[in-house]
């Protein structure tokens, strides 16, 4: 090996390191086998990942798309890592949540996972992060499947780590549904490969328009959209999600709720707009219309079901299904504003759901229960936690000065731009449902007395409240100053739709 005298520049290889660093840290965490060192490793690695992601986003915004040839093999033949605006934005979202969750996880994991398995949590967490980052970074349709499997398999393990044995069935059900989704995706990729002989997304985009009307490509498209919809929990393919979120360890719920479904939405964007963009299938094949109907149904049905939940984690999980509806609704409008509204809601929803699930995790740490009644009197006993919950809840509803308002503002604007004013009304009406389920928890927390036998209830430790308030503070900060985030989302939507380079 000729180590000396070669030009090794770190900056040039950041796309590879973004994935490789957490990927290599995971087996190291298994080898360490001690909980505290494994946690420290995860903390250092995730913050390095965040730094790399921010660097990459800045570079993409300055100089345009980055392409990196793995193994030095040029694009259509080798695997290409390709980072454009939307990819870089997803990298930042995933790695930011990944970095914030680790400090939070320390106390939460110590409470919820048995000591001999905690190091496994950090190993699987790093592996899952590597997979999610890989999905956002790769420009190869098959490589995306590999990363999808890495992140999915590790998330099944993460869910099943909880002490509650119901997490095993929840993880098993997610495994079955997730595997069907991934299989559908790979069948779609296989059919496209059959017709085009390429797996590179940019190359596929060039070759698909000529054969877009063939039966094989249409079937491929069907498999891809259904498979990805399973992964992103689009109504009515969301059945795996509520239990998986409800029974997973709190830290896992925070992480998966803020990243896993979001990255699946990114994959849908890639397929519809990058791979099939030139063929314009979303218009020609009416996929947009189907997605729009499903999105609106999700907004109402899932929100209504959420109202009747007693387990707060399940309540928030159903609310996630509804929020995915808003994102898909924006995408289904196929305008720059609409897709931008979808993308910005991916970011905003990651912030608010992260904060909310973190608050529920804090409550679980102290009360040992996730039912609504456990929140009684917590407004006084755990004021910091409940304040974060309220901020997250207001964001879900879409109150001005929170990120939820920004999302809904642009969503309604996109609906009006498309001349679909009934959609705008539906968006407002479904927000009222969010008021009901958020109020249900807030009312118990602030207007009920704590049970007399729980006078030992106190605030969650700083290691949990600080990360929680980082996200809750983000809900307010990016709600007041939406310039940056919306700017990126708008440009990303522009380049997806081919309006911008």
């Amino acid at each position: 090996m000729s180590m000396a005298g070669t030009s090794f520049s770190l900056a040039e290889h950041l796309p590879a390191l973004q994935v490789v660093i957490p990927l290599m840290a995971a087996p190291v965490a298994v080898l360490i086998r001690r909980n505290t060192p494994a946690w420290s490793l995860a903390a250092v690695i995730t913050w390095i990942c965040l730094a790399i992601a921010i660097t990459l986003l800045n570079r993409v915004l300055d100089t345009g798309t980055i392409s990196y040839a793995l193994g030095g093999w040029a694009a259509p033949w080798g695997i290409e890592y390709r980072i454009d605006r939307i990819g870089a934005f997803m990298l930042v979202i995933v790695s930011a949540i990944g970095a914030v969750v680790v400090p939070y996880a320390r106390a939460s994991v110590a409470r919820e996972i048995s000591p001999d398995r905690q190091y496994l949590f950090y190993a699987m967490y790093l592996l899952c992060l590597a997979g999610l980052l890989g999905i956002a970074i790769t420009g190869d349709a098959f490589n995306l499947f590999v990363f999808l499997e890495i992140s999915s398999l590790s998330s099944y393990v993460l869910i099943s780590l909880a002490r509650d044995r119901r997490s095993l069935t929840a993880a098993y059900r997610y495994l079955i549904m997730g595997t069907i989704g991934a299989t559908f995706y790979i069948i779609g990729v296989g059919l496209m490969y059959m017709m085009t002989g390429t797996l590179n997304m940019a190359d596929l985009a060039q070759r698909i328009p000529a054969i877009a009307e063939t039966r094989t490509v249409l079937v491929a498209l069907g498999f891809l959209v259904v498979g990805i919809s399973l992964k992103l929990a689009l109504f009515p393919l969301h059945a795996w999600l509520p239990n998986a979120y409800a029974f997973a360890p709190s830290a896992v719920t925070v992480f998966l709720a803020s990243t896993a479904t979001k990255i699946a939405i990114y994959v849908l964007l890639r397929v519809l707009f990058t791979i099939f963009g030139k063929a314009d299938v979303i218009h020609v094949e009416d996929i947009g219309a189907v997605l729009m109907v499903l999105a609106v149904v999700a907004m109402f049905v899932a929100s209504t079901v959420a109202i009747f939940q007693d387990n707060v984690k399940r309540l928030l999980a159903f609310s996630s299904v509804a929020q995915v509806g808003y994102i898909i609704l924006g995408i289904s409008l196929v305008s720059q504003t609409g897709v931008a509204a979808g993308i910005i809601h991916v970011f905003n929803h990651a912030l608010m759901k992260g904060a909310l699930f973190m608050a529920v995790g804090c409550v679980f740490l102290r009360t040992g229960s996730m039912s609504v009644s456990a929140f009684a009197g917590l407004g006084r006993r755990m004021p910091v936690t409940m304040a974060a919950f309220v901020v997250g809840g207001l964001s879900l509803i879409g109150v001005p000065a929170t990120v939820g308002f920004v999302s809904k503002w642009y969503l309604i604007q996109a609906a009006l731009e498309a001349g679909l004013w009934p959609l705008a009304v539906l968006i407002l009406l479904s927000s009222l449902l969010a008021v009901i389920y958020v109020w249900k928890v807030v009312e118990v927390a602030y207007f009920q007395e704590p049970p007399s036998f729980r006078h030992d209830l106190r605030e969650a430790p700083l290691s949990m409240t600080v990360p929680m308030w980082l996200l809750a503070g983000g809900c307010i900060y990016f709600g007041l100053d939406a310039e940056t985030t919306f700017g990126i989302a708008h440009d990303a939507a522009g380049s997806l739709l081919g309006v911008l380079p």
Partner: protein, 186 residues
């Protein structure tokens, strides 16, 4: 297992060639059919055969949990480490050409090290999966041990062995599934 000399001797004769064949498949993989994955499975099958004939506890003494666990991790690290070594050599991630003095040697070296990493992880994973299922008891751990001793080892039919393997893995698999279903129903 003292009563089964045929099985014991045959498996003892078979295990070394199995391992050798695994290594052949491993290192001949870049000229012929084979490679790390297949080699790993074949290599692990030697340990699985040993465990089937001489018992899981004896086999676990040869491959303790920490060995298979280390194998799982080290294989991945070998793979990714080769990629990182290529970075330091001045190439892109996983660009083997820079690993040796000329590109052809580099490609050979790179693919062999990477496939060895794959083989290590796959072998360790197969062994781990087998031990995990084989050493789990549906009831009390004590019960399983009794079952082992009392099982009909008196007659020399090889079918017995098959039955035992089938029944043990199947029954455990089913009872696991049943248990999961039961929890769901509750």
């Amino acid at each position: 297992m003292k009563e089964k000399p045929v099985l014991r001797v045959t498996s003892k004769l078979l295990i070394p060639p199995i391992m050798l064949f695994a290594l052949y498949v491993q290192f001949h993989g870049d000229f012929g059919p084979g490679g790390g994955f297949q080699a790993g499975v074949i290599f692990a099958s030697a340990f699985i055969l040993y465990a089937l004939i001489f018992g899981v506890d004896v086999a676990r003494r040869i491959v303790p949990a920490w060995v298979s666990r280390a194998g799982l991790s080290i294989g991945v690290l070998l793979y990714a480490g080769t990629g990182v070594a290529a970075l330091f050599g001045g190439g892109n991630f996983l660009d083997y050409s820079v690993l040796a003095h000329d590109a052809l040697h580099g490609q050979h070296l790179g693919i062999n090290v990477i496939e060895f990493g794959v083989g290590t992880t796959v072998a360790a994973a197969m062994v781990t999966i087998f031990f995990t299922f084989a050493s789990q008891s549906p009831h009390d751990p004590e019960d399983l041990r009794d079952e082992d001793d009392d099982a009909d080892f008196d007659d020399d039919f090889d079918d017995d062995l098959d039955d035992l393997i089938a029944s043990r893995t199947m029954s455990q698999g089913l009872s696991q599934a049943g248990g999961a279903g039961g929890r769901e129903a509750r």
